[in-house]
């Protein structure tokens, strides 16, 4: 009787661990392919040189690192206020019927393939930027890519922010209202501060989405290897660097693209760790809430949102 159970347990464990094995193999493979060229060229050159000419043996990733950073900041600068405003509206202000329509609509945004965003950006945004007299330039630019990315991070930012806001116990709001605060004062003075770490997690996961996005960016960013001097300059990110050049790359060039992957891997892992920390803080904070035994609110905050992102931190294995 015990034997089959143990076998099944083993099989389930193997299934669970195979995904971890996949990650391990990917990490090992990328490191094996990419590290030699990093050490040949020197880590300093690799990260800090501004010249990327792999066919001439020059591997400087600085323009791409800067490009990824600039687009991420740009996407969040546009997407975070918009997303947060939307989340506040949906969680606190909108009547249920409006909410019932709006929330699924926003979730639908996440289901649109990125190439579609890129295509719309290329067909609509780029010509508008190019032909607007006070903008100008080639159109393929930091600005175009930031706008496209901002729309793409919206579902992540809104979804997680709504959950963070909803996780704030209703008693907080009731207390604030009882003290004479207006609804707006309650939101800005009580609800948002209480949901702060969840909102930070939303921003960090949004960053992860922006850093990792490739197809939409390749279509609208112009992909020039340079430190962008203005919002209207073309820019290349780490992901697009790999996607653009992998077709023809061989030898040290291909290794340099794998090394680009290593840099990306490290950045994404750091972002996920940060997001995990921020979300851990939310849970911690709510666990010590004095009134967590009463009412409907605690049930709600217990609910874990399933983030539609395979790169999210792994939940701990349930003890058995």
């Amino acid at each position: 009787m015990r034997l089959p159970e143990r076998v099944i347990e083993r099989m389930l464990l193997a299934a669970a661990l195979s995904s971890v094995a996949g990650l391990t193999l990917i990490a090992l493979y990328i490191a094996r392919e990419g590290l030699p060229v990093v050490f040949d060229a020197g880590v300093g050159t690799f990260l800090a040189s501004g010249t990327w000419a792999p066919t001439r043996g020059e591997y400087g990733l600085l323009p791409m690192i800067a490009g990824s950073a600039v687009l991420t900041v740009g996407a969040l600068a546009l997407g975070l206020p918009l997303g947060l405003g939307c989340a506040i509206t949906l969680a606190e202000l909108a009547p249920p019927r409006v909410r019932a329509i709006l929330k699924p609509t926003i979730e639908l945004l996440a289901g649109i393939p990125s190439v579609v965003y890129g295509f719309i950006g290329m067909e609509v945004l780029v010509p508008v930027i190019r032909d607007t007299p006070w903008l100008g330039g080639p159109g393929y630019s930091v600005l175009a890519a930031s706008i496209v990315l901002a729309v793409m991070v919206l579902p992540t930012v809104i979804g997680i922010s709504i959950d963070a806001i909803e996780a704030v116990p209703r008693t907080y709001r009731e207390g604030a209202r009882a003290l004479g605060a207006t609804q707006w004062q309650t939101i800005t003075g009580v609800v948002l501060p209480a949901a702060r770490s969840g909102i930070v997690a939303a921003a960090i996961l949004g960053m992860g989405r922006a850093v990792g996005e490739t197809m939409a960016v390749i279509m609208v960013a112009g992909n020039a290897v340079q430190l962008p001097g203005s919002l209207l300059d073309p820019v290349r990110t780490l992901t697009t660097n790999i996607a653009l050049e992998m077709g023809y790359a061989s030898g040290a060039h291909a290794q340099a693209l794998f090394a680009t992957g290593i840099v990306l891997f490290v950045i994404i892992m750091a972002l996920n760790a940060l997001a995990g920390l921020a979300r851990g803080q939310v849970r911690e904070r709510l666990r010590v809430t004095p009134d967590s035994r009463s009412g409907a609110a605690p049930k709600r905050k217990r609910r874990e949102r399933v983030v539609p992102d395979a790169r999210g931190p792994m939940p701990p294995l349930a003890g058995a």
Partner: protein, 283 residues
């Protein structure tokens, strides 16, 4: 606290950890060799791999060829040369001349000629550039169309990505030791580049002559318009051979396909598709 006997829960968790580690090791042991093994499927028929510039024409030849199954894969000239060295393809396709170290052991067959055309927007008044002007534009020394006889507007320079055969031909024949300006827009697709030039009246780009369509205008270089006769006479400065590469003595199937491609019928198809056939080009 038990000193000799650890508590049941500690023992259980240790046991669990060990089991965890063992299972993980098993999973790795099963997946690792599979991940490392190279795919070496021995195929029947002929497999071509290489230049994306050559690929569409190779596909047409493969379609029309009746002597057997021909599979065409793209991946770029460099990948094609590597594939024929590795033996993963019987024929490598290259749109550029081979480096000396790539050439060892390979037999090159010229299957057609193509040219790299420099294109601008159809409404651009400039219709001819010297190679020196073109180099100065791509190097960033000339930044306005007014400097080469056009309107006073900045030039939008578009280039292909590092490693592309078309870019290599362009750099070799136009740029010399100069470098393409770093703020040039980069695209990995000929079609994408054509679209970018067709939509931006200030743009300049380069692509395979056979891919030039309405909406863009190919420029004359050093006074010579790219055309079948100028490419065939090698008068047009940016003409290039399309090469099929084989290693050692080709097998029967491969040799038969190469014979078809260089035959009158195969070359007629090349001309139909916009290439310059080797018969015309022969001196």
């Amino acid at each position: 606290m038990g000193t000799v006997e650890s508590s049941p829960s500690v023992r259980a968790s240790r046991c669990r950890a060990a089991r965890f580690a063992r299972t993980f090791a098993c999973v790795l042991a099963v997946t690792l060799p599979g991940a490392c093994r190279q795919a070496d499927a021995a195929r029947s028929g002929v497999t071509l791999a290489g230049s994306t510039s050559v690929q569409p024409f190779a596909e047409r030849w493969a379609e029309e060829y009746t002597g057997g199954l021909v599979t065409v894969q793209s991946g770029g000239s460099t990948a094609g040369i590597k594939a024929v060295h590795d033996g993963t393809a019987q024929v490598g396709m290259s749109s550029r001349a081979l480096h000396p170290e790539e050439r060892t052991g390979l037999v090159e067959t010229v299957v057609a000629y193509d040219a790299v055309a420099v294109i601008v927007h159809a409404t651009n008044p400039v219709s001819s550039l010297s190679i020196a002007q073109l180099r100065a534009i791509y190097a960033g020394q000339l930044r306005f169309w007014s400097e080469v006889g056009g309107p006073h507007r900045p030039i939008t320079v578009i280039t292909r990505e590092e490693g592309s055969g078309t870019r290599e031909t362009f750099e070799h024949k136009v740029m010399g030791t100069s470098r393409i300006r770093t703020d040039a827009l980069v695209t990995a697709y000929q079609g994408g580049l054509r679209k970018m030039v067709a939509e931006d009246r200030d743009a300049i780009g380069y692509l395979s002559l056979s891919r030039v369509t309405a909406g863009t205008k190919p420029l004359a270089l050093d006074g010579i318009v790219p055309s079948e006769s100028s490419v065939a006479r090698a008068a047009y400065p940016l003409s290039r051979p399309f090469l099929f590469l084989t290693r050692g003595t080709p097998g029967d199937a491969t040799a038969a396909f190469l014979r078809y491609v260089t035959s009158t019928a195969g070359q007629a198809l090349a001309r139909e598709e916009g290439l310059v056939p080797i018969m015309t080009a022969a001196p």
